[in-house]
């Protein structure tokens, strides 16, 4: 199986040759790869070098935490990738964004209004949790859609808070 794996616009072509070998570019490497205690912690011995890492699956990408650094990793299998580029590539940038509560907490204040134009990075809502006030920011420019919560309201984790068009 061949994959095209992308980190920060840099592409790696990685082929899983068999259980103990991969090919990256034209280098054949010996791998010994184990999950630790059934957890999302992985031990990799790659040509004798020993690495350990947390690997989490996100909605669209993978996060790899390795020696204090975090990498956002996109993985496509080659076939998938070819299909996509044949189709003209590029997912639509727009679409609705739904802000969900990243943790349970109390909505302290809402700093935007429905219909308002907002900028990427703008603080939309303050959520108090673990004695901290956490600012939830807009991930991109857009127009505020529906706001589903009120200041003073307690919310559950993953509860929908508001949307951006």
């Amino acid at each position: 199986m061949k994959y095209v794996t992308t980190i920060n616009d840099k592409e790696f072509e990685i082929e899983i040759v068999d259980d103990h070998h991969i090919r990256i570019g034209d280098r054949l490497l010996a791998v010994d790869f184990e999950s630790v205690s059934g957890q999302p912690v992985f031990s990799l011995i790659l040509d004798g070098k020993s690495y350990e890492s947390y690997v989490y699956q996100g909605d669209e990408d993978w996060q790899v935490l390795l020696r204090g650094q975090q990498f956002q990793v996109k993985i496509e299998d080659e076939r998938e990738k070819r299909l996509k580029s044949a189709a003209g590539g590029g997912v639509a940038e727009g679409g609705e964004f739904h802000l969900k509560a990243p943790m349970p907490g109390l909505v302290v204040s809402i700093l935007v209004e429905e219909g308002q134009e907002i900028k990427k990075g703008q603080v939309m809502l303050i959520l108090e949790s673990m004695k901290m006030q956490n600012e939830l920011k807009a991930p991109r420019d857009g127009t505020m859609g529906r706001i589903r919560v009120k200041a003073g309201e307690s919310v559950e984790q993953k509860q929908a808070l508001l949307s951006i068009h």
């Binding site: 790899v64 935490l65 204090g68 943790m103």
Partner: protein, 502 residues
């Protein structure tokens, strides 16, 4: 002399206090909220009583219930830890009334240091330098403050009289922006402390936050255990502390130490306390406030002095003299503490909740971990996000940094995100290694981005790891699909039966 101590706290500090009691042969009473039935302090305490629902105000802040439990269980002393009821004069007073030994200072000392304005006035009288500002105690109007501001000089800080933790604090660069900032500071102070009073303080630029640990007994003996460097902060929350401060020499240490002792004596202090100072680039130091309780970061002092501060608190509270004279306090080596918080440093330090499914603690020579969590424990949103303190000792600061680096690399916590990567990045920062930082360092001159040459080398490894995990997952789900196909066969078979017999 008491023999049973109720610990009016939770988390690592409750565990820390239970340990000290156990090592002194004292019985312990734990209290817990509904969210904490399985917490370590409940498991380690000799007795344990439910306080109420998870929110602090319904559990750990319920002074009345805690005092009831103390009386019911026969606890003749209470250790408040830090936070919650630790600096509540009324609680300490109530303990005294009920003949329960409060392991901490007298209510009058808490009161004297609790109001920041009053505290400033008190220590000024004792000859302790303070940051220039408004000296008057209590109710100054906005007009008063605006009038006095230019004499203090800009930039300055508006601070809440009842304050702490950066709440109600505003930085003011000019007179023009001051009225708005005054209002918002008062609003925040009002909502946080029920007290909208504020005062002004000159903003000391490039300042370090350095504090002195004090111990005092009821015979009038007061000593200091040296300083802690606490300048590594984010949003006024300390993240890392060390002892000694790379900025102090013996002469300055002795000078500040004796001033700290003087400040404690000014409020007739007993038990453990901390005098916080700001130190500017030119080594001028200013009293900031006194914390009239055990600090989160007390272990770094324990590591360099060999003094068990909690055990010493208990001895003093039992009416004994201090075990050490000032001369007997010797400093050896260097200690660093990293606060391990359940928050994601790659996502604006957002708190992270969830069940810890797996954990491997760093151990070995010179490493200490103070924690209240373990695999299977649930991190809830009700309390502060600190889940462990990782403390190391080394013969030198450089050795301590190298040791901390390996300990951070070893530490595994699965189930919640932690700020361990923040500390790892900090340990690699040249400015930190060089001891060149002030209280603005983390917010203004620090980045989680690694040097790009390191990043490039590791990116390929990260790509391989993610691909291997993704590949395994694809393989596994393929198997599950196949298994489900088999499992579904009963139903297919039923379906066939239906058709056959229709």
């Amino acid at each position: 002399m008491f023999n049973k101590v109720l610990i009016a706290n939770r988390g690592e500090i409750a565990v820390r206090i239970i340990r000290a009691c156990r090592e002194l042969g004292i019985q312990t009473v734990a209290v817990f909220s509904e969210a904490d039935r399985n917490a370590l302090h409940v498991r380690y305490g000799d007795e344990a009583y439910l306080l109420g629902p998870a929110p602090s105000r319904e559990s750990y802040l319920r002074a009345d219930k805690i005092l009831d439990i103390a009386q019911k269980s026969g606890a003749d002393a209470i250790h408040p830890g830090y936070g919650f009821l630790a600096e509540r004069e009324d609680f300490a007073a109530k303990c005294a009334e009920l003949n329960i030994n409060f392991i901490g200072p007298k209510p009058s000392s808490i009161a004297a240091m609790g109001d920041k304005g009053k505290a400033r006035a008190t220590v000024i009288k004792a000859g302790v330098p303070v940051v220039p500002g408004t000296e008057a105690v209590g109710n100054m109007t906005d007009d008063d403050l605006l009038k006095i501001a230019p004499t203090v000089g800009f930039p300055l800080l508006i601070k809440a009289t009842a304050g702490g933790g950066g709440k109600g604090m505003r930085e003011v660069k000019s007179l023009e922006e001051m009225p708005t900032l005054l209002q918002s500071a008062r609003r925040e102070a009002e909502s946080a402390f029920g007290d909208g009073n504020v005062y002004l303080e000159k903003l000391v630029e490039g300042a370090r936050h350095i504090e002195f640990q004090i111990m005092a007994d009821s015979f009038g003996n007061v000593i200091h255990l040296g300083e802690r460097e606490c300048s590594i902060q984010r949003r006024h929350q300390k993240l890392l502390e060390e002892a000694p401060s790379p900025f102090l020499d013996d002469e300055l240490r002795e000078k500040m130490g004796s001033v700290a002792v003087k400040a404690a004596q000014a409020v007739d202090y007993v038990n453990a306390g901390t005098i916080e100072f700001l130190v500017d680039k030119d080594r001028n130091f200013y009293f900031l406030e006194m914390n009239t309780r055990l600090q989160v970061e007390h272990p770094v002092t324990e590591m360099v002095t060999g003094v068990d501060i909690v055990a010493e608190q208990i001895r003093v509270a039992r009416g004994r003299q201090l075990s050490y004279s000032q001369e007997q306090i010797q400093f050896k080596g260097h200690a660093i503490e990293c606060r391990v918080n359940a928050e994601d440093p790659f996502n604006n330090f957002m708190p992270s909740t969830g069940r810890i499914t797996h954990s491997i603690l760093p151990t070995g020579p010179g490493v200490r971990v103070d924690t209240g969590v373990y695999p299977g424990f649930e991190i809830t949103p009700y309390y502060d996000p600190m889940i462990a303190k990782l403390i190391v000792w080394g013969e030198t600061r450089a050795q301590a940094i190298l040791r901390m680096r390996r300990a951070l690399e070893e530490y595994r916590i699965v189930g919640v995100r932690t700020n361990i990567p923040f500390h790892q990045t900090l340990m690699d920062s040249h400015r930190f290694m060089g001891g060149q930082f002030d209280t603005r360092f983390v917010e203004e001159r620090f980045s989680m981005e690694a040097a790009s040459e390191t990043e490039d080398k590791q990116a390929e490894i990260a790509a391989i790891l993610a691909t291997l995990v993704a590949h395994k997952q694809t393989e596994r789900s393929a198997q599950i699909v196949r298994r489900n196909e088999r499992d579904a066969s009963n139903w297919k078979w039923v379906g066939r039966w239906e058709r056959m017999h229709r």
